[in-house]
Symmetry: C2
Subunit: 208 residues, 2 copies
C-alpha cells in the first residue's frame, strides 16, 4: 500500500502490523479490521483479546490423544460408547473436527500435531509418534485393534504414514489408510491423473 | 458448520466466537485463525492482543480534524507547508489515507466519523459536523477558503453533503464536491447509466 509507512498513528500501524501477521490477512484487510475494532466499545475489544489470550495461555491437550481439551482426558477418549480400540491418526486438531463433522466415525483419535516434512524442518521427534507407539503397545490384543492413518495424500503424508507403520507394525496391530479416489460428485474430466489412476487401481465391486 | 456447537474445547469455541465477530470473517476462517494463534509462541500472541488493546485504549484524535493521531494536533494539521484553508471533508480515517495515498492533495481534512443514514440511525449530531461549522466560522476571510465535500456518491453521501452545505453556506466559504464520472480506464460499455449521464453533464473541454 502506498501509505504503508505512512499511517496517521503509530498505534494504528502497530495494530495493522500485528493483524496482518495472521495467515491470509493482507495489510488492506488488517487496516479494515483495525478500524473496525477502533469503532467497537472498549469492553468488546477487551473480550476479543482476552478470548485469544485465554485460549493461548490456558488450553490443554488430552493426555491420551493430544487433542485440544478442557480436561486431562478429552470427551472422545473419555466416552466409553466409542470404540477405544480403533485409533484414527490425524495431522491436526482440525482434522479431528472434520472427521467428527461427518458423524460416521465412532473410534478414537491420535493427533500428531504436524506432518513429517524435511523442507519445513519437521522430524518424527517433533510429532506425537512415540506416544502413539506407546499407546498401541499398551493395547490388549493389538492384533484385534486398528490404527487408521488418516493423513493427507501428498508426499509428506505418505512419508509420515510409512514412518508410523514402521514404528507400530511389530505390535501386529491392523493398520489401514483412507480410501483414495474421486471425490463424491467429482467430474472425471477434471480429476488429476494420480487420483484417477488410484481410483482405477482401488476400484470396487458395483453394488446397485 | 456441523460442529458449530461441538468444539473440543470451550476456550477454542470462545476464541472462534470472538474472532468470527470480525467483519468478513466466517466461523471457518475464525477456526483457522484460532488454531494458527494456538501454534504461535505465547509472546507473539500477547504482542498481537496488546497491539489491539493499545490501539483501542490509547488512540487519540486530532482536536482540529478528528483524524486518528498520536498527538493533540495531527501531522497534517500541524504541517504549515499544507494549505490550511482548504478543508477536505471525508467520512472516515480510511478516506484520508486513501486521498493521502494519491499524493495529489495538499490541503487539510475534516473527518466526519460516519455518514448521515436514517436506516443505520446515524444523525448529524452523531458526526463532527458542528465542529466543522465552527472550524469554518473561525477561518479568516472564509470566502477565500474552500471546503471539498469528498463523500461517497450514494444517497447517504449526497444527503450528508447537502446537510453540511446548509450548515456552512452562510459563511460564504467556497464549497466543492469531487468530480463524478467514468473512472480512469473505465469501459463506456460497462459504466452504469447514472455515472455515464453525470460524466456527460459534467463534460470538460478537451485539452490535448
Amino acid at each position: 500500500m502506498a501509505y504503508k509507512e505512512n499511517y496517521p498513528s503509530v498505534l494504528l500501524s502497530e495494530a495493522v502490523e500485528a493483524i496482518s501477521s495472521l495467515p491470509g490477512v493482507g495489510r488492506r484487510s488488517a487496516l479494515r479490521l483495525a478500524l473496525h475494532l477502533l469503532k467497537q466499545p472498549a469492553e468488546n475489544v477487551h473480550h476479543f483479546t482476552e478470548a485469544i489470550n485465554h485460549l493461548r495461555d490456558d488450553v490443554c491437550y488430552c493426555r491420551r490423544c493430544r487433542m485440544i481439551s478442557d480436561s486431562e482426558l478429552c470427551a472422545i477418549c473419555a466416552d466409553h460408547s466409542r470404540d477405544q480400540r480403533t485409533i484414527c491418526v490425524v495431522e491436526s486438531v482440525r482434522d479431528v473436527m472434520s472427521i467428527e463433522a461427518t458423524g460416521q466415525y465412532h473410534g478414537v483419535y491420535h493427533v500428531l500435531g504436524g506432518i513429517i516434512s524435511p523442507i519445513a524442518g519437521v522430524g518424527p521427534s517433533d510429532l506425537t509418534i512415540r506416544e502413539l507407539a506407546e499407546r498401541v503397545n499398551t493395547l490388549e490384543a493389538p492384533s484385534e485393534a486398528e490404527v487408521i492413518l488418516a493423513l493427507s495424500g501428498d508426499v509428506e503424508g505418505e512419508t509420515t504414514a510409512f514412518y508410523i507403520y514402521r514404528q507400530i507394525e511389530a505390535s501386529g496391530i491392523k493398520v489401514s489408510t483412507l480410501a483414495r479416489g474421486l471425490g463424491f460428485g467429482d467430474d472425471l474430466e477434471y480429476a488429476d491423473a494420480l487420483t484417477l489412476g488410484r481410483s482405477l487401481t482401488n476400484r470396487q465391486i458395483f453394488q446397485p
